[in-house]
Symmetry: C2
Subunit: 413 residues, 2 copies
């Protein structure tokens, strides 16, 4: 018998029928003898409905009251799911953030969890109850209701799993696991049985938005085994773990991530002097524009070229800021290109395996794709290419690294 | 400067527009320098919507979870009203039952208030906030959410006023006060400036359903001055007070109450022996039928007639029970009459003024109304008459006791 924390998002509890299906699933786990803590979000649409009401009253609703308002969404779901479980003969009890108690800081609408009191939860589990906990919410030290921000229910689930030392934290979603790459793009894309936290973070930040990055970080920090599963289909999903040193067959590469939501900005003929990067990126940061890849080429004649990428929607604003900066620093020219994409090869295995980069570049060259920028991290190599080559690049890399094969097959890398 | 507790029901906060109007009203009191605690119900329809969801999942929803579910309704209103107040430049903060904390017993869906912690409320008032408190809800000693049952928001308001020693508890409704009788029946019906708790209880139980009886009892017990006012019309309303001994001009009679929802049952030829009343009414009580007026005439030949009234909807069931009982006790006959009405004269003044009863009977005789039954209490005299004479009776009594005149005028009684 093990202790499992299960999290169901807004779509999974979006109607009474779906709440019934979730209850069926939880009841099956209970019947297998597991202790179960369920974390739920508000029924889909409810949070937005409540926020809509608030905005009709105030352009910028008082954050404290906004939290009081929207936290009711999850509370409603906890009560309904508890009823559905009791109706199925499964003893169940709801808990809101204040009842658990999930202590947070006082940053309303984006609070951080400080501490979870697990005394009540342990008592509830020992008394044989399934505990249904409201995700996304907590209380500050003065008893004010706080919320954790969008996607906070994942964080609640992971934090509860950590506090209760659960055997597994299961996040139910609308996909059946984490894939080697987007299955809509590559036919041979394969569901991974396992992936490490670091790989998951790199995959997630590239647009494989299965899990909130914050929850993955949290799970990694507290070593909570995390599993991504489909809410209404059976299957083992993908287990996100610490690097499993016992698994000799760990493939070098976990997957191919990509992001087509980027745009490139280049400042040409920048005087090459200390502090120039700050002079360029400072005003961009002040305008609340996030920068992803940054590249500075060595220049000639004491001049250099400075290139970086931003989210495509930020391009017009970034360009405006940059032209002003360019004039100030007497740069020669500003160029922008919205038609780029980023493709990344991700895998903890590349730490110990040489040749991943050269294999990646070779595979792209073979299909005639020109690489515009390269950045690397310890477990990831990313390239910026022309957007029109994206699908071609992802398929070529997926095939080159043999990702369509099970890891027990001999790896190409 | 005084401390006022104001309660707004579901209709008064039934839309964002109405919440705005309530905020305007509260803001005006605040501008006059008063400290204000506002108690709100769920927006009209919301509680029923939530109960509907619960009943789709369970025929008899788990009471604990039903409370978790429906308590969100009031919480939503507290947040929205707080926002509307802040938008008007009035510092305001919401509190749910657990935050206040309103400690109740653990009778879910019909909990009783045990204690109110007023430390947080005092601190909030001292910091210059309008406090917006969720009505109808509390927590038990284990932190479980409880609700007080329908109309519980009135009770919350009175309990808060008692705990805070408020100068006045104002209940905002859809009527502008308590009247000498139903204004739809008597043109001269007059709004009372004052009424005592006891009179209000007698008037309320007769169908003048302005306030929850429980809240009035509570206010009487803790000596909280209670005022009934109209939510969206200006006016002084009616103040419900302890008997004001200083007011020499207290009129004898406060008002004429009536109830047309009664039916009469008579058992004729009952053997007159000890325990016979119990033999007749015992089975009626077991069938969960409430009895109002009871009358036993002295009989002849060791036989008596036994008459009582029940709610008209209970008549068929009561008759069925009674025919069975009549056979057992060998009574001669059972008769029923659904076409009756009860008319009552209510007033604390009748304690010290003789002649109220005789004036009442004279007034009815003058217009040719036959009295079928009479019952009296310390501050009330009720008669049962044929239903078709109800309007005539109420008008005759209203006029006979001079209720259309202000109490400062010379009283007829």
């Amino acid at each position: 018998m093990s202790l499992i924390v299960q999290k169901f998002g807004g779509t999974s509890v979006g109607s009474l029928e779906r709440i019934g299906q979730v209850a069926d699933k939880v009841a099956r786990f209970r019947a297998e003898g597991h202790d179960v803590v369920v974390v739920v979000s508000a029924m889909s649409g409810e949070t937005n409905r409540l926020i809509g009401l608030a905005h009709e009253l105030q352009e910028r609703p008082v954050p404290r009251e906004l939290d009081v308002l929207i936290s009711t969404g999850e509370q409603v779901t906890t009560a309904l799911l508890s009823m559905a479980l009791n109706e199925r003969g499964v003893k169940a009890k709801s808990y809101n953030g204040s009842q658990v108690r999930i202590l947070t800081d006082d940053s309303h609408t984006k609070a951080r969890i400080r501490e979870i009191d697990n005394e009540k939860l342990h008592a509830g589990l020992e008394a044989g109850y399934v505990l249904v906990v409201a995700g996304f919410q907590g209380v500050d030290e003065h008893g004010n209701i706080t919320t954790l921000g969008r996607g906070g229910s994942d964080t609640t689930a992971v934090a509860l799993a950590a506090a209760l030392k659960a055997d597994e934290c299961q996040i139910y979603t609308d996909v059946d696991g984490v894939y080697t790459t987007d299955p809509r793009m590559v036919d041979g894309a394969r569901r991974l049985d396992r992936i490490t936290f670091e790989e998951m973070l790199e995959m997630a930040s590239m647009g494989s938005k299965v899990l909130q990055i914050r929850a993955v970080e949290f799970a990694g920090k507290y070593q909570v085994p995390l599993r991504v599963l489909h809410s209404f289909q059976e299957g083992p999903g993908t287990l996100i773990t610490l690097e499993d040193v016992n698994q000799m067959e760990t493939p070098t590469i976990a997957g191919i991530a990509f992001n087509r939501d980027e745009a490139k900005l280049t400042v040409l003929g920048v005087p090459d002097m200390p502090g120039i990067a700050h002079k360029i990126l400072g005003p961009i940061g002040e305008a609340n524009i996030e920068v992803d890849v940054i590249l500075q080429n060595t220049g000639e004649d004491n001049h250099t070229d400075f290139t970086f990428t931003v989210s495509r929607t930020d391009l017009p604003r970034a360009e405006e800021v940059l032209r002003r900066v360019a004039a100030q620093i007497e740069a020669r020219e500003v160029r922008s290109d919205p038609r780029i994409a980023k493709v990344s090869v991700v895998g903890v295995g590349m730490r110990s395996h040489a040749g991943v980069a050269s294999q990646m570049f070779a595979a792209l060259a073979e299909v005639g794709i020109n690489i515009q920028m390269i950045t690397t991290s310890e477990i990831k190599i990313s390239v910026i290419i022309e957007e029109k080559f994206l699908e071609l690049a992802v398929r070529a890399l997926h095939s080159s690294f043999g990702l369509e094969k099970e890891p027990n097959d001999e790896s190409v890398a």
